[in-house]
């Protein structure tokens, strides 16, 4: 089916065709990358030179500017994957599984960074790198789920077959994540009444909020850029695999 013969192509249908998708989104990559870079530069400048130390936490508050965005991405990327999984199973959108596959390792990476920065924060604040606090613990479990999904993708030879199975697992995971969060919170309050995180969001002064927001958007756009590139790569990789199999059979038709 060529474009001319198709009577009307909505943006949805356009996105549904891998080739069209690549053609339509390729021009977005460079602007996104530049925007990301600008946001990072601004965010870092504010984080280090234009914001004061917190009156309670001192300079360690600066860790927050990388910690909170990565922790947010860790959760946001799972939501992205869950929506993509729905796209695979319900709408049969041919790009949904590409998006799902591209996102998984990035989710794992950002979650790992959240854990790392968190423990770098924890050492000066609590004196240990690791504490079995509810939020940290559920982030750790999220990391395990991500890595499991990565492993599951790699265990399949046939990516098309893998897609729906992984989608099923991702959705079951998505149902489960709130339950896990709830149970881990229940568990940690059972053992240590006071939570380590005091919700200080609204109380934060603007001088801290500004770099936080800048970094937050910088990381989010970084994810958007990388996701787009990784999806393009994945689409190409599938073509490569088809061609390689065909070549391995000596090109019989």
């Amino acid at each position: 089916m060529t474009i001319e013969t198709t009577p009307k192509m909505s943006w949805w249908n356009r996105l549904a065709h891998p080739g069209q998708f690549m053609a339509w989104t390729r021009p977005l990559i460079w602007p996104l990358a530049i925007l990301t870079l600008a946001l990072f530069l601004a965010g870092l400048w504010f984080a280090f030179f234009a914001s004061p130390a917190d009156y309670q936490m001192g300079d360690t508050v600066r860790i927050m500017y990388v910690h909170v965005p990565t922790a947010w991405l860790g959760q946001f990327i799972y939501a992205t994957m869950a929506v993509s999984a729905l796209g695979t199973l319900v709408w049969r959108h041919p790009l949904a599984d590409v998006s799902m596959k591209a996102a998984a390792p990035m989710g794992a990476a950002f979650t790992a960074m959240a854990l790392f920065t968190g423990s770098m924060w924890g050492r000066p604040t609590w004196g240990t790198f690791w504490e079995w606090d509810g939020r940290m613990t559920s982030t750790l479990i999220l990391l395990f789920i991500y890595l499991g999904i990565v492993a599951l993708w790699r265990a399949f030879d046939d990516q098309l077959r893998a897609a729906r199975v992984v989608a099923a697992f991702t959705l079951v995971g998505a149902i489960n994540v709130p339950i896990i969060k709830f149970s881990v919170d229940w568990w940690s309050t059972l053992h240590q009444p006071a939570s380590v995180f005091t919700p200080e969001g609204p109380k934060m002064p603007f001088s801290i909020l500004l770099p936080l927001f800048l970094m937050f958007f910088a990381f989010t756009f970084l994810f958007a850029t990388l996701q787009l590139v990784a999806m393009h790569t994945e689409i190409r990789r599938r073509r490569v695999m088809t061609l390689e199999r065909r070549a391995a059979r000596g090109d019989a038709r």
Binding site: L152, A155, R164, A168, V172, I179, I180, S183, W187, L190
Partner: protein
Amino acid sequence: MSGFRSVLRRELRLALAGGSDMLTLVLFFVIVGAIVPFAVGPDRQLLARIAPGIVWIAAFLSMLLGLDRLFRPDREDGTLTLYRLAELPLAAAIAAKVIAHWLTAALPLILASPFLAMILAMDEPTFWRTLASLALGTPALAAFGTFGAAVTAATRRGGLLAPILIAPLSVPVLIFGVGAISPLGGPDQAAAAMLFLAALSLMALALSPFASALAIGWGEE
């Protein structure tokens, strides 16, 4: 539903005829429990305090051990293909497998738990609560495990994959299982945990066969 009963009977027959699988599980369960005193030293009070947790961990790990046997042999010798073409719906066959898995991988552990309770110096009321929480919680583990095995059935190498997929998802079972025993949060907390455990088990049991059947249908061949 004679097909359902046949699948159940077949699974039980295979598990019992082999014999070793069940014995391995129970043995492993006991070994895990028995090794802890070596690690913590013979402090009876401490042991008694962590005993419910140890029993649950042991049960949790033992049930993970048996997951690979759930679908892989059926897949390799072609039986899974037969199931997919059978009159009996695939979900029903899988429901029978969940039940058989519970009967062969969880029930023996529950029966062996008095022995563990003894080694770990558990007092009697705690023991009874442990038994109750195991009985209520292990069905959820069996159901989750079946789903994990179904998701990995189509991959050429399973082995450890199903356990790592399932273990993080089953953390709530573990938490509430232990929470239902230990008197830390007070009796009403324990009762709430017990209820939650039961709810989790029911939900998992109800959904797992369908989800697993879908995963197998999508992944196979």
